[in-house]
Point group: C2
Chain length 338, copies 2
């Protein structure tokens, strides 16, 4: 039941739930390029994330799951910039193209596109080993974008939501965690727990509304894709500062019912990645307003530390022993992983 | 000699020859997204092409060749829209990352980026089976973009350059042509001929200057990636017209020195694809000026036919026999190819 690429595009991608009208989109799918306009005094944020089967999602993951995750992790980059989702393109590489797979993929992608009001304007389709390359475009008034480089000494460090659920979800879904063989279950999670964590992995919540509402209070931001500590290191490097984190304050998942050790729960939160929560810095005098506005955006924020002088992340903890040495942030191509 | 992804990005992609300053680019590589501005009354053209090893370039093609081809074929989409190259992103999937490969890739990509003044503003790097997903952005004053849907009955059909050299180059490079086993050499091409055609395949010439200079004379345009006839069919479908092509006027390559039959030379030109020349329609009263301005852009244009009423491409030829039936345009996932 193969179709050629033009039929596939017409049937599954140039569909009203995906490629919908949006002010400023003059031309969508169907020509050599799409044409958009952006309002004056506006920045267009552009970000791309490539997801490869077996690396960014387990082999044999469902088509809708892959589609949702691919778009959501890209939307998280827009959230980190405080950009309003605008339009996206899709590069899709598939070993084959069954009706059923395409239908599920298109449906899953459409759900997220509708939820965030982001329209598919173009793409490319090819045969090959499965990978999804999505590029998102968002808009922000000039000088209102959040960046990594704005943290100042004394700023308070907050994170949204709970951390570590993405890494736990990957384990539930049968994926291979970069945390190594010691990151494993002590007992089998319940069906309900598995569903919860798999959803956290496949359908993270990009903090778009939070970022749009709170951007005036935030001095710097990054999304947590590689793990809190690794991503915080990027932020402080860009800002030319250090950071201190209070280990006891890290918002680990409270949905783990004894099937993971407390040590692994913390490792997942600090180093696991795949959470797509935001880590932000806030000037001390803005913290009160920030917390209030975040609450109105239905987003829990937790104060976990402070920007300090230096160039590394330091840990505060009353617990003896400290952090397991092999819990590092995820990087591709690092020699240690080979 | 593996490096981690952040070192790779810093060393090979956030390099001055690739990620260079450009008016309107407020933030390039290094944050969660890039930030650009575009002038008022301007359309941003956005296009993406995914290149997969073994599908869009032969396995074991050189890194610089892959890089150049990947960017050039994307630039060709901007040419087809008459958009001035502005910035691009790169999604790169690699099975491994040797210093040498990355160095060559970056250098090749940088050469083309410099030549066309298009700056790399972001991307993503992953392990996996080799593929390159590039997305280009170009700018055009509002209402000056070229589209596929503007052809009118009576318009003259022109193509730039010579057709078929991409398909011949793919054969020279050891790639598999979609034209089938009968598309083969009668004798071994000379070293010089092989170099010429391989360059035509790996380094097509996006007709950017031509399109920018001639856009006021052109009623519709498409770039020839899948083969003249297939792409012309897209153009007439979008325009709601038919077309008639004079087979004798097709500008086949004149660099074939007896190593390909005249029949295969014509098949390559009509159905081969990978040429990245432009096929355009021009209103009769504008043809004279069009040809003159094209000449000033150092671009040979050839009149090959006319837009007519109908919904298909018809052929005119004084040669008996007509067109080989298996010479069709390239499509992914088409059942005929399996």
């Amino acid at each position: 039941m193969y179709k050629n690429e033009f039929e596939i595009i017409t049937n599954y991608f140039a569909a009203p739930n995906l490629s919908f009208d949006h002010e400023g989109i003059d031309l969508g799918i169907g020509d050599d390029a799409a044409l958009i306009r952006i309002p004056s005094a506006t920045n267009l944020s552009i970000s791309t994330d490539v997801l490869v089967e077996g690396v960014h999602f387990p082999i044999n993951a469902g088509a809708a799951q892959i589609a949702k995750r691919a778009l959501l992790v890209n939307l998280s980059d827009l959230a980190a910039m405080a950009a309003k989702p605008y339009c996206f393109t899709l590069g899709l590489i598939l070993p084959n193209a069954t009706e059923n797979w395409l239908c599920e993929f298109s449906k899953g992608l459409g759900e997220i596109a509708q939820e965030f009001g982001i329209s598919l304007i173009g793409g490319d389709l090819s045969e090959g080993p499965m990978a999804v390359a999505i590029q998102v475009h968002g808009i922000t008034p000039v000088n209102k974008s959040l960046r990594r480089n704005g943290a100042k000494i004394g700023d308070q460090i907050f994170v949204t939501g709970s951390l570590g659920e993405g890494a736990i979800g990957l384990l539930c879904a049968g994926g291979k965690s970069h945390l190594g063989p010691s990151f494993k279950f002590m007992s089998r999670p319940s069906e309900k727990a598995r569903d919860y964590f798999e959803k956290a992995y496949f359908q993270p919540t990009p903090r778009v509304d939070f970022a749009l509402n709170c951007r005036d209070y935030i001095s710097s931001a990054i999304d947590i894709s590689d793990g809190l500590i690794g991503d915080l290191q990027h932020l402080i490097k860009a800002s030319g500062t250090g950071a201190v984190i209070d280990i006891e304050k890290i918002p680990v998942s409270n949905c783990v019912d004894g099937f993971l050790s407390s040590e692994n729960l913390l490792r997942a939160a600090l180093f696991g990645g795949d959470d797509y929560e935001l880590c932000v810095s806030v000037a001390p005098e803005k913290c009160e307003d920030f917390v209030e506005v975040a609450g109105r955006s239905d987003t829990r924020v937790t104060l976990i530390g402070e920007i300090i002088a230096g160039d590394d992340v330091e840990f505060m903890s009353s617990v003896e022993g400290g952090i397991d040495a092999d819990g590092k942030a995820y990087t591709h191509f690092s020699p240690e992983r080979r």
